[in-house]
Every structure is written in C-alpha cells, then in structure tokens.
Amino acid sequence: MADTNYDVIIIGSGPGGYVTAIRSAQLGFKTAIVEREHMGGICLNWGCIPTKALLRSAEIYHYMQHAKDYGLSAEKVSFDPAAVVKRSRGVSGQLNGGIGYLMKKNKVDIIWGEAKIAKAGEVTVSKPTKKAMEPQHPAPKGTKGEGTYKAKHIIVATGARPRVIPGIEPDGKDIWTYFEAMVPPSMPKSLIVMGSGAIGIEFASFYRTMGAEVTVIEMMPTIMPVEDPEISGLAKKQLEKQGIKFLLEAKVSQVKKGSGGVTATVETKDGKKQELTAEKMISAVGVVGNIEKLGLEDLGVKTDRGCVVIDGYGKTNVPGIYAIGDVAGPPMLAHKAEHEGVICIEKIAGKDVHPMDKSMIPGCTYCNPQVASVGLTEPKAKEAGYDIKVGRFPFVGNGKAIALGEPDGMVKTIFDAKTGQLLGAHMVGAEVTELIQGYVVAMNLETTEEDLMHTVFPHPTLSEMMKESVLDAYGRVLNI
C-alpha cells in the first residue's frame, strides 16, 4: 500500500473541493481528495455547466426562430432532443476529465470511494453505497482505493442534493429533480415546475423555449425570491410574454400520478385549490447539505438545518475538521464554495486572510432574460436602515442592446446616500450574468459612486448601462 499519510484530505471534488485541493497543493501541503461518483461534483456533472449547455441550445434555437427579426431566414427550424442532451453531456464530460488532469498536474492524489471520518485526523474510504447517476463519466485513472488515510486537516466539501418534500418524492420518471431534467429522453409537452429559484427558473426557461407548456409554482409572492423584487418582476413579465405561467403564493399539496402524467393539487394563499395536469413535474425546492454518513455526528461536529456549522474560516467546532461550500451553508453557489475553500486552506497555512464576506457574493440565473445581482436588494437595504439612492437604467436606452435586438432589461444600483458605498446591483436582460462582475469588483475594492463615475466604460457595450445606472442614482443620467 502506498503512502496514506497526508497533510490535507478533502472530501468531495466539486468546485469547492477541487479548487481547495489545488490551492492546498500550491501551499505545499501533501493533499488528497476523496470522490465517490464524479470529478467536479454536481456543478460540472449535473448542475451549473450542463444546464448552461442546454440553455445555449435553447438560446440558439430561439434566435433561429426569430431569424427574420435580423433579416435572416431559417426554415424548418427544429431540434433533436437526444443531440441537445448529448452536447450537454459532452461539455460536462470534457470538464470532468479536466479535473482529473488538474489533480494530476498539482500532484493531488485522488482516492475513489465513500469517505467517513473515523476520528479527527483519520478518514476511512469504502466502496460507494450510493448508486451513481447515469450516464456516468468514466472515473480518472490512477486513483487510490479503499482504506484508511491520515491527515492533519480534513475538509468536508460534500456539497448538497435536492430537497425532497414529503409526499412529493421525485421518482425520476414523472417527478424529476435536476438530475432527470438534465437528460430528458424526450421533450415533455407540458411541465409543472415546483420552485422558482435559479434551478426552477432555468429549467422552466429551457423547456418553454423548447416548446413545452410550463407552469411555475412559487410559495413566495415574487419569483426568484432572493432577487430584488423590481428586477424579478421584470423577469417575470418577460417570461410570461414567452408563455410561462406563474402561480405565486401557492404550494403543491398533493401530486397524483396517472397515465397522462402528473396531476398536482395547488393551494393558493386565499385557500383556493386547483388541479394542474402536466406530462412531467420538476421539483426544484432547494437543496440540502450532504452531512450524512460522514461520521460527523459521532465526532460531535455541530450542524444546523442540514448544514455543518463553521466560523468565517471553515473551522468546525472539532479541531482538524473543516467544512466548505454547500455543506457549510448558504448561499449554495459554486463560486462561494471555491472562495470559502481557498480562505479555509490559506488560514490553515497561516496566511493573513479575512473571513468570507457573504455580502459580496454575486448570483446569476441563466434564464432568458438573464438575472444577475450582488449585494443588498432595495427592500433589504431599507430594512438595514440605510438611507439609499437608487439608480435605474433600461436596456432601451443603450445602443448596443438595441443593436443586439435585446431592448428589454434593466440595470439597477443601490447606494448608501451618506457614504456613496455601492450596497447592491441588480440586473435583468441579455448577458447580464457577464456584466455583474464589474460591480462585484467595484464593491470588493470599496469604490464609491464617484469612482464609478470616473471610470471609462467602452462604447458601444451593454456595460455602459452600468455607468448610466450609477449616474441615474445621482440625478445625472445621460441617455434616457
């Protein structure tokens, strides 16, 4: 048996785990990563990446259908569901293989199997008990296998899985989670989406573009409840224009499965009940941390509502055991996991790091129109007691947006009136997921409105709206 002693063992090779492993190796730690199913975790295999591939197909399909708007002709526009899925799997597979390469390059050992922390400093790896999701990408070569491994520092990065509502358990056939929704054998004609968070809305947008009748059911009064209500309201209008139906302040109380698909009993706020029937249903009511079967309970590691409790540096209450990413609590986003992992390992290495500042984590939803945001929403800023200045700039005032044929959308900025601190930025419209980072950098560098106004934005770009929104907050907007 080869060497089984490490400085750092990371459990889970999702975006949090594998990035932490690379950073760990860079810092000179002898590092191993344990994975039971797929290199890259949900993100690369069943989440962020393959959905972006699906949505790209939908986007191009949408453009082809609207070719005339651009003076082009595309006749008999159609698609092959199997080919769309195949492309998505291909993208996922390519990146999955890439993680194996990155581990090798950084001399991080991969241990294949299911991990359990026997005690602080010791991980036992056994055969996976969980059946892998199919289709499965091949496991990397040259991995280590079952056995007992020692490490001074153990970082739990096991991610999360779909939340299940009792009575509405996904069966993989009629009631899907994102796993099944990612690889439809055929395009359903009708679909109920339970939950209007990022996952629910992205699938709703995808399936609607591909022709399905889609109804989204949301318990909260607005869709995408974490977003600024003005922005999510605009997104909702756009989605409705495309034919998506929304039932807000509503919940599914019962689901019956029959030969024609599923029939959901939906209860609205006013107590009324209605029945909706659709070919398929997607349950997208959030995710819960994978805290089980790791031995955490026996070790006395504190958990709260399905997540490991950590300090700002990923430390749990048990020395030598750390947690990062989804399993360590919301927001459950890949980029949060990555950053948290880096902070954790750098702190272990004794670097001068600062704890995670969750107020500056951007969020992106890749529906059509896209939604992106960072920082406080308008109601949250008011709630926090800020005297605020709000800037808004609509896509219709931007030359590039008009040229792109994307005149719907808005860039909204929220400033602290007293200090000029950028408290939040919220966008809806084409390509906003690529724009938000400008504001994230600005917030992270603690710029004020003045610096943003002094910054030259290239013309003609959508980014000009970001400056205009700032100008608008101070009554100086130019192009509207």
Binding site: T419, E446, T448
Partner: protein, 465 residues
C-alpha cells in the same frame, strides 16, 4: 543678479516635498503673483507663486521629482537684461539657497493668509530659505484627495475608506490597513472609530487637510449658484490663494467656534485730547518730521493689549486638551488690502510704548498693502482688532480668527448726545463689539475684558504709566 528659487517649507514639520508640476518652462516670463509650480507635501498640494518679475532661466529640479529637500535650489529666475550665462548652479542645494536668501533678503515674503493663519498651513520663516517665492493653499479639486504619508508616499486606502475617514474626521496616516498589501479598507475605519484612534483634533496642526479643505465646499455648488443667473450677466473671476484661505479659515471659524458678542460704547473726548497733546509734543527730526503720530487705532490696540494683561484669562487660545494662556498680548490688526485682507501682529503690545506701537503699525500696514509681510509678522497672535471707524461704520461684529479667542470690532467715533450727571451733553462716542470664542471666554469674562478696555479708552492717561 539671477534670483534663486528654492524649495519652500510649506509647513513647520516639512523637510522635503515632491515637485508635482512646473507651470512655467524655461524662457517664460513671469511676474509677481504668477503661479509657477505645484508642490506636494504630506498635507496638501500647494502652489508656488513668483514674487519677483523675470524670466525663468533654468529649471533645476524637474517635474515629478520626489523628496526634494527644503531650501534646495529648484529654479533660477533671470532679471531683465540677464541671460542664462549668469546662472551658476554649481554649488547647488543648500549653499545656493543660502546665498539666495542673502541676495533677496530684503524682499520679504508676502503672505497667502488673509488673517493670522493657524494649523497646518503655517508658513514659518525658515532660516536660509529663499524669499523670492510664496505659497498659496490650493483648494483640493477632488473632494477626497489621495492621502499621502509623512514622507510623501501614497497611502493606500479604498475610496470608501477615504470617504468614511473624511466624514468622520479621521487621519488616514494614523491608521494601519488590513486589506491586501496593507490597504486601508472600510473595516479599518470602523475599527478606528470604535477604538478612537486617528481622530484629528479640529485645530491640531496635524488636522487632515482633506477635512478642512472640504468645509467651505458644503454650500451651494457652482452649478446651483450659476443656475440662478443669466449666462451673460456675470464674469467669473478665479479665486486666488488669499481668497481661498479667507473662505476656508472663516468658514472653519464660524463652523467650529461658538461665537458670542459683547458691545459697549466708549467716550473718546479724553483720548482725543491726550492724542493731540502727545502728537504735539512729539520730537521732530531735522526735516521736521515727527518721531510718531498716534492714531485712535494705535491707542485702541494699546488699550486692548493692556486690558488683556489685566484680564489674563481672556488672553487665551482653545485646544481640545488645554487652555493656552498667553503671557503677552500679541494684537493682530486687520488691514484691508486689494483682493482681501491680512492681519499683521503687534507683538507684546502691552509692553510697548504708544509711539512704538504706532510706528510698528505704520510699517506693517504699509508692507501689508505691498504684500511684503514675512509669515511671522502675520501668523499667530492672541487677539485682533478690526477697525472700520475710518469708513464711517457705527458698529459691527467680527469673526474670530483662530487661534485667537477674541476679536474687537471698532466703529467710528462720532458726536452723540449723552446723559451726564442727569444733563444732556454731547460727547464723542465709539461703539465696539467684542466677539469671543465661548469655549474659552465666557460672557462675564468678555464683559470684564471690555470694561477694562473701556477704562483705558476713557482714562487714557492710564495707558501711559
């Protein structure tokens, strides 16, 4: 003879500065008052103005030079008819500066300050410094200027941290940063506010320039003001250093000093009689010129100085920690000059005979009008007199000039009906109003000082003993 221009000392602690920008080039003609260069120090960017006329013969220190020592030769000015061959910079540095000072030692520096300046803008008379330049505070164009370390280096602070420091009156130099590469970020400001470090005292010499400079800017913006008038109904006259300093200092005074006013009428007849008598008795030189010619103003200065001697607790300056009780009455006298005003100081006026006070005042007033006062002739002081009597003003209130705690506003002496022993009579009466800084001179104390002043004015013989 070429005139050496050397690096000026812009603050008492300044040892070196950065030559940020030359605004003239070799061969340019300059005349007195032209801004020729900008110099950056830890505290501010200052403009250097030429006092002498001439042609820029040679720029010795190039633009952008960091850490130029005070008194180091930075340029040479040629007088009419001289050419560049007259320049000898071989000695360089200190020795040139010394000779420069000797050459032009008779040309005193003109002040930028409208009135006795305080705080970080003190321009002390630095031994050996060339006097062929003057400096004027340049109002910051950027609301929150990039801060500098004491050695002129950049302080790295986030824009938000800079603004928070400004809003809270924190000195970034006193803070250490916890951001990347020691950058000062919001968190550091919050920590400083909690612990109370870096708080700049309002009139401390180390008070951050940024906070002070921004104070006058809080009124209506230029756009707001201009928006109220037709475009061709006015001309814009740019502010000079003196105007900016007046605006800044007096705004600062009115914003930070709780003013309080006491007025009293003084009968002048006895004083006028004594003055005539004394002036008649003045010795005359061979040209028949009298050795002195006392004015009412001279006697007012003397009376105030003696009153402050008698009421020493009114002869004070405020600092956050202590009351500064002055041992002598250094009386500043506001002198109106074209484009503003300046307040030269009669030092130890309580000790000086009236004739000396009078002659000093004549000399200072004349040189003030020529803008040729040395900084130590207008900086400091413990009180001030502002006399508008000669302009027929009956009564007015003046703005206290820190570090003074008092200023006496003097109106015209005029014949007024007064009641004496139950009878109506005519007397020459002068109204005066004392403005005080209530933080250090309370009402009763101000009244006591004014009573003492009135005593000297109405019994002027007491000023002679």
């Amino acid at each position: 003879m070429p005139i050496n221009i050397t690096m000026p000392a812009l603050s008492p602690t300044m040892e070196e500065g950065n030559l940020a920008k030359w605004l003239v080039k070799e061969g340019d003609k300059v005349s007195s008052g032209d801004v020729i260069a900008e110099i950056e120090t830890d505290k501010a960017t200052m403009e250097v103005e030429a006092v002498d006329e001439g042609t820029v013969g040679k720029i010795v220190v190039p633009e952008g030079s960091q850490g130029v020592k005070v008194n180091e030769l930075i340029a040479v000015l040629l007088e009419d008819g001289e050419d560049a061959s007259a320049i000898d910079t071989s000695g360089g540095g200190k020795s040139d500066a010394d000779s420069g000072a000797k050459d032009s030692g008779s040309k005193p520096e003109k002040g930028d300050a409208a009135s006795a300046p305080a705080g970080d803008e003190k321009v002390p008379s630095v031994p050996g410094s060339s006097s062929s330049i003057e400096v004027g505070a340049k109002a910051a164009t950027d609301p929150v200027p990039a801060p500098k370390t004491s050695d002129g280096g950049r302080i790295f602070a986030s824009p938000l941290a800079r603004r928070l420091a400004q809003l809270n009156g924190l000195d970034l130099k006193a803070l250490s940063g916890s951001g990347p590469h020691g950058r000062i970020i919001k968190r550091d400001i919050e920590a400083a506010l909690e612990s109370g470090t870096g708080k700049a005292a309002a009139k401390d010499a180390e008070a951050p320039k940024a906070a002070a400079a921004s104070a006058p800017a809080k009124g209506q913006s230029a756009e707001q003001v201009l928006g109220l008038f037709d475009k061709d109904s006015y001309e814009l006259v740019p502010h000079d250093g003196m105007r900016k300093t007046i605006a800044k200092r007096l705004t600062e005074s009115k914003q930070t000093i709780p003013h309080f006013y006491v007025s009293v009428d003084c009968e002048l007849d006895a004083l006028l009689a004594l003055r005539a008598q004394l002036n008649d008795a003045a010795a005359r030189d061979k040209d028949g010129k009298p050795a002195y010619k006392l004015s009412v103003n001279d006697m007012t200065i003397k009376a105030l100085a003696l009153a402050l001697r008698d009421v020493p607790m009114a002869n004070v300056s405020w600092t956050d920690d202590n009351m500064v009780v002055h041992k002598h009455a250094d009386v500043g006298v506001a002198v109106a000059i074209p484009g503003g005003l300046i307040t030269p100081i009669i030092r130890r006026a309580e000790e000086k005979p009236l004739s000396v006070v009078s002659n000093e005042m004549k000399d200072l007033g004349k040189r003030a009008k020529e803008r040729k006062l040395k900084p130590d002739e207008y900086q400091g002081g413990t009180t001030a007199v502002s006399n508008m009597g000669m302009m027929g003003v009956k009564n007015f209130s003046a703005v206290v000039n820190p570090p003074h705690a008092t200023i006496l506003a003097v109106g015209a002496g005029e014949k007024r009906p007064v009641v004496k022993d139950g009878e109506l009579a005519v007397a020459t009466v002068m109204s005066v109003t004392l403005s005080t800084d209530h933080r250090c001179v309370d009402g009763a104390l101000g009244a006591e000082l004014l009573a003492a002043f009135k005593g000297y004015i109405e019994n002027p013989m007491s000023m002679l003993v």
